[in-house]
Structure formats: structure tokens, C-alpha cells
């Protein structure tokens, strides 16, 4: 029998090597998750949409149905930043949350986050400089690409124009803020999303804390090798 996620041996800090291979996770059977794997194979948050208040429902339905197209980043910048965001979020294949396009829309509309490090320009210009500095990223092989982003994340890149450590903060914040706003990511992690006007009743731990329509966590990856493999 497959082990459950009650133990924590799948967690990166508990493993001495790299993160576990997500390909061994359950396939999504209902709705969409990024790359179609996750913990909750039968959970599709959008099925709750009829219970949401109108403004929230329209916003999330639009986020899924109408991904934006790039208006800020030039073609070459799109290639580089697309590769960067794919690395930060481990989105190696479709279906992908359109993070590049979502970040482009936010910056094009100048919806900044309310602060700017004195050493950096506004986030739109910072990201264009990042694209220039990482130019060619999309043409590298998987291992070299990963290594280059690792060097960026670990502050090993010395750029003349801007402080690369602060630029990593901007790029990674923009990436996760876009990705984890998307209902496909809610499906992957078992987040029930907007809970208004219904709210929650059962909040305790253990089996009596589970509501009947709550996402059910699948068992973990099967450690038994297939015969013959």
C-alpha cells in the first residue's frame, strides 16, 4: 500500500537530496492543476463558484478563462523571463499557469506593490534589466538553466546595473504572487478559495474537522516499483 502524507519524508528539508519527483504524484482526475499533478486529484475549486459572491466569482472565472497577453515585455524578454518563471515555479510543461503574462499585465498596468528598494528602479524596469542580464536563459539545457537560476537565487551574480539579490526578491515575489493566485494552484494544494458567503463550520483537526465537500488528500507516491521496470 502506498504510504500517506502523514509522515514528512517527502519534504525537501527532510531529504538530503533534491525535492521528490512530482511525476510520481497522483494525476489530476477532475479540473486542472499546473502540470496535472497534486495531492487532491478529485478537487476542482471552480466547482464551488456558484456559491461565491458575484464580484469574487467573476474575478476568478476571468482569471482562468481569459489569460492576458504580453504588452510590456518584448519578445526576447518574454523568452528569458518565461524561462526564469518556469524555473522558479518548476513549471516544466503544460498545462502552465500563465505567470509571465500575469506578471506582464500587473507591471504594464503599473499595479506596483507600494515600495521600491532605493537601489532598484520600479518593478517593471527591474524585470526588464533582469531579462537583459539573464539573456539566453531559454536557450540553455535544463541543467545549465537550473544552475544559472540557482546562482541568481543565491546572490552569486554580480550585475553592474542593479543589486541582483534585491532583484531576485522582486522576481520571485512577482512569480509566486501570480502563480498562487490562480485556481489551478488552489486545486494542487487543496485550498478551498473564496468562502463567502458560506464560510466554514468544521475547523478542528482530525476526521470530525473534515466537511463532506472538502478536498480529500490522496495517498502519497507508491514506493513499490512496477514489476519489470
Amino acid at each position: 500500500m502506498a504510504r500517506s502524507f502523514r509522515d514528512a519524508e517527502h519534504l525537501p528539508k527532510r531529504r538530503s537530496g533534491p525535492a521528490a519527483d512530482p511525476e510520481k504524484l497522483p494525476r489530476q482526475r477532475n479540473g486542472t492543476t499546473p502540470q496535472m499533478h497534486g495531492r487532491y486529484p478529485d478537487f476542482n475549486v471552480m466547482e464551488d463558484a456558484p456559491h461565491w459572491d458575484r464580484v469574487t466569482r467573476e474575478l476568478l472565472e476571468k482569471r482562468v478563462a481569459e489569460p492576458p497577453t504580453c504588452r510590456l515585455f518584448a519578445e526576447r524578454e518574454q523568452l528569458t523571463l518565461g524561462a526564469l518563471f518556469d524555473e522558479i515555479l518548476a513549471q516544466e510543461r503544460d498545462p502552465r499557469v500563465p505567470v509571465l503574462q500575469m506578471v506582464d499585465a500587473k507591471l504594464y498596468e503599473r499595479k506596483f506593490d507600494g515600495f521600491r528598494y532605493a537601489q532598484l528602479p520600479d518593478d517593471d524596469r527591474t524585470m526588464r534589466i533582469v531579462a537583459r542580464q539573464l539573456d539566453g536563459l531559454s536557450e540553455l539545457g535544463p541543467e545549465q538553466r537550473h544552475e544559472r537560476v540557482r546562482a541568481f537565487a543565491d546572490g552569486e551574480l554580480a550585475w553592474e546595473e542593479i543589486d541582483s539579490k534585491l532583484a531576485w526578491k522582486v522576481a520571485s515575489r512577482l512569480a509566486v504572487s501570480a502563480f498562487y493566485s490562480h485556481p489551478w494552484a488552489f486545486n494542487e494544494i487543496g485550498f478551498r478559495g473564496p468562502a463567502y458567503p458560506r464560510g466554514y463550520m468544521r475547523r478542528n483537526m482530525g476526521p470530525t474537522g473534515v466537511e463532506p465537500d472538502e478536498p480529500q488528500e490522496a495517498f502519497g507516491p507508491d514506493p513499490v516499483q512496477d514489476v519489470g521496470s
Partner: protein
Amino acid sequence: MPRSNPFRDPVPSWNRSASLLDVHKRGIPGLERMAHHEDSDEVDMVIVGAGAGGCTLAQRLARRGWRIVILESGPFWDPDRDWVSDEAGSHKLYWTATRVIDGEDPVELGKNNSGHGVGGSMVHYAGYAPRFHPSDFETHRRDGVGADWPISYADLKPHYEKVERELPVAGQNWPWGDPHSYPHAAHPLSGAAEIAWQGARKLGVRMRVGPVAITNGVFGNRPHCIYRGFCLQGCKVNAKASPLITHLPDAIEHGVEVRADSHVARVELDESGKCSGVSYFHAGREHFQRAAAVVVAGYSIESPRLLLNSTSQHFPNGLANNSDQVGRFVMVQGASQVAGRFPQLAHQYKAPPPEICSEQYYETNISRGFARGFSIQTVGPLPIGWAEHVLADGHWGHALREYMRDYNHWSTLGLLCELLPQPENRVRLAEELDSHGLPVARFTYSQCENDRANIAYGKHVLEQIWEAAEAQDTLTIDRYAHLVGGCRMGSSAETSVVDSDHRAWEIPNLFVCDGSVMPTQGSANPALTIMALASRFAQRLADKRVASGPSARARSSGEGALA
């Protein structure tokens, strides 16, 4: 404590806001009947900023006959129409115009600590409403650090009690600081908070439920909390208190005008050295609102910025700034969070983030090796907040996705460490201009050694709690919370911006009424104290202990029967 009367009306007689709301709609009813004043009409008071300070002050004084206009830079919210149960979609609730940050330990602004729109940042605060401890008002005398306030806990205590009734605050009897009880009972706990409490109990850390400004029972037309966990995105339920629903309905009923989308550019002076009113931008045009008194209530970044931008012949370095005190001593709390991982599903999103709290480490204990202390509180990050937490622990790529998929197994505790006021932690003007052509704020922040020792100790306690709870893994993020100081009150013009009556030392009819007046911050969330300060200030003005008051015309108009 006021003597408790089980038959008393749940909604206090001095503020009927909760009864003036509509059961079936979230927005304030009857706005089409709101008072309107002409720019040329000299009102008794113009207040800059519709947040915790400005709205509470306006509500109190309107009941005493003052004719008041509140100018708010952001929009007038209708929660049904404008707010969503979604993290990314709540971007508009925050002050997102550019501010420049620097220093050794720059403080990220925006969604974490800065509001925009009627209701201010209480619209998106978590809801914790603890009082300050008596020691917070005299940290220099007691512990040799920080500053002493020109007022004491006893001055604020009756106002804490009043405001707790108005919000109302729910929680267990409070054993720390000045022990007290709350008008509403404590909310039930979620599994995520229970497991944190188990760890704390094993370690010997005492916890209490609350105090949160979230209804837990009958309170006028405000509904009970539905535990959906979106407190930081604006409460669409009207269960969590913000001045939009706790003070403005009553203020507007008593004649206050709130003028939204009105960004104040400068406080103007007349030839005699008194304020004559404020210049502001509305719908692309510059206006001038005349007023007999001006109250700046824009919080710790925008209040100093407005004063610094208000230069004149008498005040070349900014209004009320001839002692170079405006913008100094801005404080944030060290708010590192440590999350613990458990075999069971904890669903930390299924409850308001504020659940339980400990103030056991609040006061100075010299054996810890630093002055002052911290409090411990639950927090319940939603997915974007959780992703920022995982990212801060150093994970991206597949490791980030793995920890994110593990979301439902985690529970998170946060610190509020009292970081000390320092003169060089300050707001100045940057060279950059905003969309109105006004210089934006530049906020410089660096921790001192005491701050670093406090945060390190607090994080160690959180780690120990999770170890005692038998957590399988932990993740840590270093961050800050809240803002106070920048226009602090004090006992002399050389070391402060306003006196104990919130009056600028150098201008007789200029006042500051927001979190920026605080000389220290304790380890308590500041909202309740900001409201209590405004309540006290209003009483001082209305009882004429401070020389400023409603015009003769207002008093004779019949509207201002003394409440």
C-alpha cells in the same frame, strides 16, 4: 472596568454605528444624505485620513456639534461591490503608490502595513486588538530604553474600555498588563491554533484566546463571523471591526462629511502662523478646504510626508519641523513567523488568522539579555502569504511546489517583537514625485543590537513550541508588522512633534491623531491604542481642555446639542 450590566444594550449608547448599518447590505446606508460643505466654507475641523485615528475623532466630535470634513486619498468602499475573497484581487486596499525604502534592514510597505481608502489599514489588519501594557508608557524610566510618554496608561484606560465595547472585542479574560475582560466571549478555536496551544502548554508558555475585534454574538446589525479566513483581504461579512463600520456610520449620521478620492497636498498657513486649511487634489483639480483646525491622521509614512511637503517661510524644512523631529522615531515590530508541520490536516485557512496570543514575554527580563520583549500570536497565511513564507526559507522550484502542496499540514505562529525607537529610523522626502507632482516618502530603517537579540530570542521560543508540539518540520520567515511613530508626542518641542494633547508645538490649531504620535510601540498590535488615543483627544477638545472648538455658528445651528 465599567460595572457590567447583563441587560445593557449590546451597542453602546455613545456610538450607534452597528445599529445604523443595514442587515442585508455591507456598505454604509444613506450616504446620499451625507452632509456636504463647500471648500470656501470654514469648517470647524478638517481631518486628513479616514483611518482608525481620523474616523474615531470625527465620530466623537460630531456628537459634540463640530462640523467636520474628512479628506481621504483613497476610495469610499462598498464591501459588497468592491471587495473580493481573494488575495491578489485585494491589491487596491493597500497604499500602492511608490515609496522608497532603504537602510540596513529596509521595511517592505504596501499590503503588510499600509491602507488606502475609507477605513484605512484596519480594513485589512488581522483583527487583533490588545491593549498596551502600563509599562509601555514609561520604558525609559523603567528599562532605560525607548521613551516615556507624556501621558500614562491611566489616561487611556477609560478609552480602551469604551473602544473595546464599540468594536467589539472578543477574548478570554486577559491576565497580562492591566488585567481586564472583554465584552464578547472568545471565539472557538481551529485545529491549527489548538496544536500550537498544545506545544505552548508543554513548554510552559501560557496562551489566551483573542483578543480580536470580531463579533461573536449579537451586535446591532453586524453579523457573526463565518470563519472564512479572509480578514486580511477586507471583511465582506462586516464581522471584523474597521472604522468604516464601527465609527463612520455614527459620524455621518451626526453630520460628518467624508470626501473620498481627495489627496491632500499641503497644510496651508495664514499670516498669523495658524493653519487656514488644506490644499488637496480631487478629480484632477486642486482645491482648498478652509478649516478652523487641521488634524493630520495619515499614519506613520503619510503624516510626516504631508508635514514635510508643507513648507513655508516660517517652516522651510516642513510644517512643525523646526526641531527636525518630523519623520523620526518610526517603528515597526519584528514579526518573524515560524510554521510547524503535522501529520494531520490543520487547514490553517479555515479560521480568522488571529486566534490565540501570549504576552508572557512582553516585559523586560534581564536574564534574556535584552530590554523589553515580544508577544506570540497565531497567523493564518493564505496561499500567496504561504508562498512568501516558503520562499523566505530558501525554497524555489520543485522544493517550493512541494512545500506548497503540503499547505494543509501546517500551522503558523508569529512574533511581535518590540523594536526600539531610534532617531535615524525616519521618513524623509525622496526626489521621486507621485502622480500629483509631490515628492514621495523615503523610509530608512535599521535594527539596533537590542532589536536583533529580541527577534533571535523570540524565534527560538517559537521553534521550541513547535518542538514540544512534535512538529515534523519547520519553516521560518523574517518580516515586520505595523508602523507607529514619526510625529511622536512628548514633553518638549525639542524632542517631539506634538504635545500630550496632540497639538503641534509650533502651530496652535494643527494636530496629529494617528499611530504616528506614539513614542513607543510595545508588543501589541496598534489599532486599539490608535482609537483610544483619538477618543481621549476628542474628549480633551470637547471638554475644552484644549483651546479649539466648534464655531459659534455651529453651536447655534441646533445640530450640536451636547451629547
